[in-house]
């Protein structure tokens, strides 16, 4: 398998597939990618520049840190400020500005905020430091949620009582539905996420062609994976036959990873939740099931969510809805740069603004 894998990164092959896309595309097609790693790949490899004028790519709400609303960033900060608490978080979240302070600012002011690579790392912290309350900030889509669920099952089995989770997970299909319902970005097709789809399966997107006529292709993360998926979308669009195609079939099955879904569903259940830029979406979040209530950081530490508007000059919400491209934002590269971000899309390396800043200047 690995011997000819390099073909998926071959620049001549990329130009040849792009040329085929140009030959077959006759009418405008606007494709949204809803995975931060795809945005990163597209920007890094200059894929948009290979495409004909009929085909446009726009980033959407695919970066987990970016869709976390201001209220949830503040909530994590409120917990970090509590005495005796250690907040364990993925590194991407630490520099996202809160209403008053980022987690990095709070740490500088004395809060115990530590960066971990997984929920298991946070659980190990709880084992190593039994006198501290360890709170893991559980952000991420369906790719990440099963890993947190598995860590919680382990915590329950090992009776670890100083570990809890701030459950902020979000699920992707409801956001895609809302984007098409709003209709403001004029999206015709989705480049569907690869690793979210590994968990939830390709069938989870069938409502998009069926109800909205949107073309869908699930792509891997090599440049040729993305280009082949775009070719598939062009062919669906030209034929007037939108459906869900899987270009990433080496990983993605129609029903996803049933074991991962089973673990996820043992621990979490769907709930309404807020997204940056999209508002409250029904059944788009994951909360702990009642039998895991003892691990709920919000209840354990008596913190409450408070509505919080984003920074007045920050237009991340419009970027996440696909109605504003990063370079068209007045703050991009001026008031908002990676060293001094106004919003999360410039912080996370998967954010659309950071990708544009790093690769397209």
């Amino acid at each position: 398998m690995r011997a000819d894998w390099g073909l998926l990164r071959d620049s001549a092959a990329a130009r040849a597939v792009a040329a085929q896309i140009a030959r077959e595309s006759t009418r405008p097609l606007k494709i949204m990618e809803v995975c931060g790693s795809h945005s990163h790949c597209i920007a890094r490899h200059g894929i948009a520049s290979l495409l004909p004028p009929t085909v446009s790519l726009v980033p959407g709400p695919g970066c987990p840190v970016c869709v976390t609303p201001q209220s949830e960033v503040n909530l994590a900060g409120d917990i970090a400020d509590l005495p005796g608490v250690t907040l364990a978080t993925f590194g991407d979240l630490v520099r996202v500005p809160g209403s008053e302070m980022s987690l990095a600012d709070r740490r500088a002011a004395g809060a115990d905020v530590r960066i971990v690579h997984s929920a298991l790392d946070a659980l190990n912290l709880a084992r190593a430091e039994p006198d501290r309350q360890i709170v893991f900030v559980a952000i991420g889509f369906e790719t990440t949620a099963p890993t947190v669920a598995a860590a919680l099952l382990a915590a329950r089995d090992a009776v670890i009582s100083n570990f809890s989770v701030l459950a902020l997970h979000k699920t992707m299909p409801p956001a895609m539905r809302r984007l098409l319902e709003i209709g403001e970005a004029g999206i015709n097709a989705f480049l569907c996420p690869g690793h979210v789809s590994a968990v939830i399966g390709s069938r989870a997107y069938e409502f998009l062609p069926d109800e909205f006529g949107a073309a869908c292709a699930i792509a891997g993360f090599e440049p040729l994976d993305v280009l082949l998926a775009i070719l598939a979308l062009v062919r669906q669009w030209e034929a007037g036959q939108p459906r869900v195609e899987v270009e990433y079939s080496r990983i993605v099955r129609p029903d996803g990873n049933r074991r991962a879904l089973d673990v996820l569903n043992q621990v979490f259940e769907a709930c309404d939740t807020d997204w940056r830029g999209l508002g409250t979406l029904p059944d788009s979040g994951l909360r702990l099931r009642p039998r895991f209530a003892e691990f709920d950081a919000e209840a354990r530490h008596c913190v409450q969510r408070r509505p919080a508007p984003p920074h007045p000059a920050c237009r991340c919400g419009e970027v996440l809805r696909g109605v504003l491209l990063p370079p068209d934002c007045g703050a991009f590269g001026r008031a908002c740069v990676p060293e001094h971000p106004l919003g999360p899309c410039m912080v996370s390396s998967e954010g659309a603004c950071a990708a544009a800043w790093n690769y397209q200047r």
């Binding site: 398998m1 997984s118 298991l120 082949l228």
Partner: protein, 93 residues
């Protein structure tokens, strides 16, 4: 704004990479990532065997790579490239 230490500039949350599974012991396994070995949990891919490639995310293997399907993708690519040029011509016109 406080600055992050260099060691804290982490990979993106969502990153997930294919790695070969080289050992398996119950729910734990070891994969090779670049030059190093990494311990991972296999709770979510119970059928994974030594020799499989698995996708690693946040300390867990989240799915096995299906080699037959991987060849299908390469075949699909070859079909698009067939009348074209998998390799650049030796001389530019």
């Amino acid at each position: 704004m406080s600055r992050l230490a260099e060691s804290e500039v982490t990979e993106p949350l969502c990153i997930a990479v294919p790695c070969p599974l080289v050992t398996r012991d119950g729910p734990w396994g070891e994969v090779v990532l670049g030059e190093s070995r990494m311990k991972v949990r296999l709770d979510l891919v119970e059928e994974a065997e030594v020799g499989d490639w698995v996708i690693i995310h946040a300390g867990f293997a989240i799915e096995r790579v299906d080699e037959g399907e991987a060849r299908e993708t390469l075949k699909m690519l070859a079909e698009v490239l067939d009348p074209g040029v998998p390799n650049p011509p030796a001389e530019e016109p």
